[in-house]
Symmetry: C2
Subunit: 287 residues, 2 copies
């Protein structure tokens, strides 16, 4: 997906929020914005937003000198999600359609994302999400939710490549992986980028017990194939089925031809318009 | 009021929206954003936001070649507000406290503003505003509403300088001016800037029947004294009482020592934080 002009104001907003999270003073925050402004002329709108995200958060890292501004938030998200695990596991076990509930919860986990909204009141949102009627199709007829296709696709494969998104959310991925009963390779980012899951987050959330954890090689907030490692690309190209979590991975991969199911919440108005969904929709999208 | 770093992403948003309103194609829209980005390093945060607004909308005018992108919106706002006038006049006449109702409606008129939100559904908002309980103090104890002070101040003066804000809103100002029974000078902007009222808008809304209409000399979206005309400054400095409409005028004048009552709706989170009000609050603020 290409970057829209409407993304540009949001880039400045994200850069400012990240600089603040990094503990930068006002002068340094302004330096980050000025430097981003200087880079703007070189941005190519044909690149996808995660490509821009890589540049922006790289700037923040360079100027603030803080390598991982979201470290604390990620640790908190992991702990927070782990504490929710037993309750959510019970929800899956009590469900008439365990797989469906696990899919829905895996998408619910995607609300743990400080990249778009750092003021997101995670706890309240999850509570709201857990308490709502999960019959997604009945709520919003514009939402795409290819659950039957997903179920049939699962029946035909033995193994899955699972592309992670945020820290914390990993716990929710675990619920889904536990229900699929397949051999899973779980791919996270190579280096800190926003609050995206790294190897250490995958381990903190216990994914290594049920999947092989690898890095994609990408340090962008999306699986941009051009910057992924050769090892990852080999796995990606041979995967029987790919589950891709989060908006960033969708933006990076939505034009690919591999058999991918995208699970995400639509977090920005630009993407909502692009795929003709309402902002806030939860999506299960067959490529 | 100084400009905050959080205003910067919003400047890009406003520039983009104005370029689009001016009918610019995507390449020209990008040019506007790039040019704004180039100017950013020169911006002084000690200037007030309307000073920045002047620069930003100046850029849009220069690059798109369209002198008054909001002309159509202003004409529409004037007509729309004029059509509402009889209903609102009746509301004032039926009120137990005619002046209070006129003050409230003058603030309600401030929602006709495409500068902050171009998607504002004006009609719905006015309806909602008109139908709500106008007992403002009871609704939100954080809102400042110095109505008693305003009433007493009015009792002690014969004349008022009234600083206009947006086109359309002028009709709502008329309701208030009609209730005050004072000699009024009504000051509008000198040149097109966003949807702010010009002499032509004041006349379209019939203000000249009840007040002397002048230009402040300012072509910023706020009454920035440094760029006002000498004629205006003489009137401003001698005014017995000043009524200032809108957020832009507040941002430009809130540190001044003249006897000013600011009437506005809080339209952005930065100002809301600055004055410790909720976003969307309606304010009557004694300087």
């Amino acid at each position: 997906m290409k970057t829209h002009l409407s993304c540009i104001p949001c880039f400045f907003k994200q850069a400012l929020e990240a600089a603040r999270l990094a503990g930068a003073d006002e002068v340094t925050q302004k330096k980050v914005l000025d430097e981003l402004a200087r880079s703007l002329g070189d941005f190519s709108l044909s690149d996808c937003p995660p490509q821009m995200g890589k540049i922006i958060y790289g700037l923040v890292r360079k100027i603030t000198g803080k390598d991982d501004p979201f470290k604390e938030i990620k640790d908190k998200s992991n702990k927070f999600a782990l504490a929710l695990y037993p309750e959510m596991k019970k929800k899956v076990e009590d469900s008439d359609d365990r797989l469906l509930t696990a899919v829905e919860l895996a998408i619910a986990g995607n609300i743990i994302d400080y990249g778009v909204k750092n003021s997101l009141e995670v706890e309240k949102e999850i509570e709201k999400f857990l308490n709502q009627d999960f019959n997604i199709n009945s709520k919003n007829n514009k939402v795409r939710f290819d659950y039957q296709d997903f179920k049939h696709a699962l029946d035909r494969v033995d193994s899955i490549l699972y592309l992670a998104d945020n820290a914390g959310e990993v716990v929710f991925d675990r619920l889904l992986i536990e229900e699929m009963h397949k051999k899973v390779i779980y791919a996270v980012r190579e280096k800190p980028i926003i609050n995206d899951a790294l190897i250490e987050d995958a381990y903190a959330c216990g994914i290594q017990k049920i999947a092989r954890v690898i890095s994609s090689g990408s340090d962008a907030p999306g699986t941009i194939l051009d910057i992924c490692s050769e090892e990852f690309l080999k796995i990606y190209n041979q995967a029987e089925l790919i589950i891709s979590k989060g908006q960033g991975n969708f933006e990076a991969l939505n034009n690919q031809t591999r058999p991918i199911f995208f699970l995400f919440k639509v977090k920005c108005p630009v993407l909502a318009q692009e795929i003709d969904c309402k902002l806030g929709s939860i999506v299960l999208w067959k490529s």
